[in-house]
């Protein structure tokens, strides 16, 4: 686990660096080793900090979220520029959290915030409090379409 994580971090260094001399690669290895050591001490190497098991589902999700972001942006822009025909009606709504893993919940909450028009305000054990800009956006979120698009697999049941 820690080793694979280190490989990932070294990839990050490699992409940042742009200098591939022996000295700098060695320093990179040392840096990554130090980082992994610190991470071990911090106790944060787990499947949340290292969500590689979701990678198979990521492309579909990214395409989905990009489309959502686009349409949500258009909607909010309309509400800014044409407040007459698209009035705002701020709502607070509490939604259930169908995700089983913490990571899935976080991705869901962040996706809600990423699409303008909805901001997740509070995250509880199994509900999420959302502030929505208008009734329509709130209704659309309440249908649960977005919730079902979130990749939510714990390590045992990944579909790789």
């Amino acid at each position: 686990m820690a080793f694979k994580y280190g490989v990932l971090l070294f990839l990050f260094w490699f992409l940042l660096s742009g200098h591939y001399g022996l000295l700098l690669l060695g320093l990179g290895l040392a840096s990554v080793a130090l980082t992994v050591f610190l991470m071990k001490r911090m106790n944060v190497i787990d499947h949340e900090s290292y969500p590689i098991h979701l990678s198979a589902h990521m492309p579909a999700f990214i395409v989905y979220i990009m489309r959502e972001i686009f349409s949500a942006n258009i909607d909010v822009i309309k509400r800014i520029l044409l407040p007459g025909s698209n009035p705002i009606s701020p709502q607070m709504l509490e939604l259930p959290l169908p995700q089983k893993t913490d990571l899935g919940r976080v991705i869901y909450a962040n996706s809600i915030t990423l699409t303008p028009g909805t901001v997740s305000v509070n995250l509880d054990k199994d509900t999420i409090l959302v502030h929505a800009l208008a009734k329509e956006t709130a209704d659309e979120l309440a249908t649960g379409k977005m919730a079902s698009a979130i990749p939510d697999y714990s390590v045992g049941q990944e579909g790789r």
């Binding site: 909010v76 901001v119 997740s120 709130a138």
Partner: protein, 107 residues
């Protein structure tokens, strides 16, 4: 080459315009929570368009990779910051102005 240029210009131009619109939004909306949505525009679509326009200009270089990283990190941190801020405002006791005429949703 020309097509890529035109595409990147379109992205950059649209990004700039959308940024300004979002900034207008933070002056038009009535309270803190609604303004967060306008901030969201400038953090998502505006950043996305401008950065992808720059990536198209950069071509396949290290610069494009770094831009992609900036993009990725912005997309992780900016919703987190928005959520954290809304959460702080909620805990700090700031009440949102809700639309009372519309029914449904939470009290």
């Amino acid at each position: 080459m020309l097509i890529i240029d035109i595409l990147s210009w379109l992205c950059l131009g649209a990004g700039g315009v959308i940024g300004v619109i979002g900034a207008i939004g933070i002056h038009r909306f009535p309270d803190f929570y609604t303004r967060q949505h306008a901030t969201g525009i400038t953090d998502t679509l505006c950043a996305m368009l401008i950065l992808s326009g720059l990536v198209l200009q950069a071509g396949l270089t290290l610069a494009a990779l770094k831009l992609a990283m900036i993009f990725l990190f912005l997309f992780i941190t900016s919703p987190t910051a928005s959520h954290v801020l809304a959460n702080a405002a909620m805990h700090g006791g700031l009440k949102p102005k809700l639309d009372v005429t519309a029914t449904g949703g939470k009290s």
